[in-house]
């Protein structure tokens, strides 16, 4: 099974490396613009947030936003493309258990998420100094968040019937959740009622855990962050494996 898993992961890495202009370059450009406009130009007028300069405050959130968007996009576009070209049949005729297929694609999503995370971090270093408050919390948060969103991308791809279907969730769900997930502001700035609404946004916990790993500040309890991440990963893994076993979207 290790060879099969390694085969899927290598294929996934080869794919996003081959089309680096579409997968690795755009987040670097977008994040550079965010750093210049929000961090430098607007940030100087905002002053401090959470005890740090506004630039330093938004960097962890922007890195995390890039990681989760790219982990999601990698799995949803790659698996749907396999469905569209029918090359998913190569896996279905082979003696591959569902968990190997799922793990291979999720590992591919995590690999792209991490690559983009590293690229955006390097870009961020041109604009601000970054000091790691906790290496383990930072690493664990990035890994668990990219696993969770890779699983989300996988389920999206199973249900998708056309390319539009894999852009609906990122546009109408992921982007609003990211923007409202405390990337650009501390939720302590919000009225209490909106703080309560924000508590239902899973991205808030990832951004805050990651921000704690880098800056040592968070709006929410860390144990709760990791608890939510683990429960959601378990839930989405179970759903993905059930759908795979039924052949949802891949077998008639």
């Amino acid at each position: 099974m290790w060879i099969a898993l390694n085969t899927i992961l290598s294929k996934e890495i080869r794919r996003f490396m081959r089309i680096w202009q579409q997968t690795l370059l755009p987040p670097a450009i977008t994040m550079t613009l965010y750093f210049i406009i929000f961090g430098n130009l607007i940030g100087q007028r905002i002053g401090e947030m959470g005890g740090h300069s506004y630039m330093a405050f938004i960097v962890p959130g922007l890195i995390m936003m890039s990681v989760i968007n790219n982990a999601y996009a990698n799995v949803s576009s790659s698996f749907f493309s396999n469905k569209f070209q029918r090359s998913v049949e190569e896996m279905l005729v082979a003696p591959l258990p569902g968990w190997v297929i799922l793990l291979g694609f999720v590992a591919g999503g995590v690999a792209r998420g991490l690559c983009v995370g590293v690229i955006v971090t390097i870009v961020a270093l041109f604009f601000t100094d970054l000091h790691l408050h906790s290496f383990w919390i930072t690493t664990l948060t990035v890994l668990l968040s990219s696993v969770l969103f890779s699983l989300g991308g996988f389920i999206n791809a199973l249900y998708a019937n056309k390319f539009d279907d894999i852009s609906i969730i990122p546009t109408f769900v992921l982007t609003p959740l990211s923007y409202l997930g405390g990337v650009f502001y501390s939720i302590s700035l919000l009225p209490e009622s909106w703080q309560l609404v924000s508590a239902f946004n899973p991205v808030l916990y990832m951004v805050n855990a990651f921000r704690y790993g880098i800056l040592g500040v968070t709006d929410v309890n860390l144990a709760l962050c990791f608890g939510i991440l683990l429960v959601m990963i378990a839930l989405l893994s179970f759903i993905s494996l059930r759908l795979l076993a039924k052949g949802k979207g891949i077998r008639h």
């Binding site: 899927i8 070209q85 190569e90 896996m91 082979a94 003696p95 591959l96 077998r251 008639h252």
Partner: protein, 312 residues
Amino acid sequence: MLTVDKTKPALSIRGLTKVYAGGLQALRGIDLDVMPGDFFALLGPNGAGKSTTLGIVSGLVNKTEGQVELFGCDIEKQAFAAKRLLGVVPQEFNFNQFEKVQDILITQAGYYGIPASRARESAERHLRALGLWEKRDQQSRLLSGGMKRRLMVARALVHEPQLLILDEPTAGVDIELRHSLWQYMQQLNKEGVTIILTTHYLEEAEQLCRHIAIINKGEIVSNTSKRQLLSQLQSQAFTVELASQHELTEDFALQGFNLRVADAHSFEVDLPKGESLNPLFAALSAQNLAVLSIQPKSNRLESLFVDLVRKV
């Protein structure tokens, strides 16, 4: 190659039914056995249930009811063992168009747990045998249609299966390539690989296969050896070519014979099976028509196929 129980059928199907989500009943309880080492044709008109049957065997379609075994391995209870024995060449291109030819084969081998070094050897052997070795570093989308078909054959063989399913492997392929693919399939069959073929080219089935099943509207309407099937023919068609000085008109006729003018110098005639050709020659001589050649039409299955399919 895996060791398999060759006393059991290469493929055994019992009571297989398939009802699609929209309510279409594609298979109505079919039974089928294909013995190890056979070259077997599954024929039928479009929508008869051929691809659904093979899709279920390959794990690409969920069955509604019934049992399928490959060399005694149940495709559900011993799914992985069964899948290792099977190679599939589907009707439509189903590989990543942006992957390189050799990578497609190595990746496929990886799905079967074959280490990269062995996968590379196997890929090279099959790509060379199918004339694709020179194209190994080319993106698959840049191959011609015939090369893409051969790539799918090579991919299906990379893990050395015991049973090879070919779903219309020569559709849209030119004659020369078709013949080279036939030769390769015959060679594989001689080496012990059981082959199941679906095709719309009935002469292909007639030339290659030893047993033929005909499926129509989700039911097997005939399943026998090619020899027995052809023995059911009541008549046989011959093509008669006349010397060039004779020019046939459309109303050309010979009393007592059912014939069709093919062109200005040849016609097709149906003769009762087992009867002498002499009366035909006598009738032609009586009209002072000189015969240059006479040959049986190779596509003898066609009339049988049409009869069997019409009966349902």
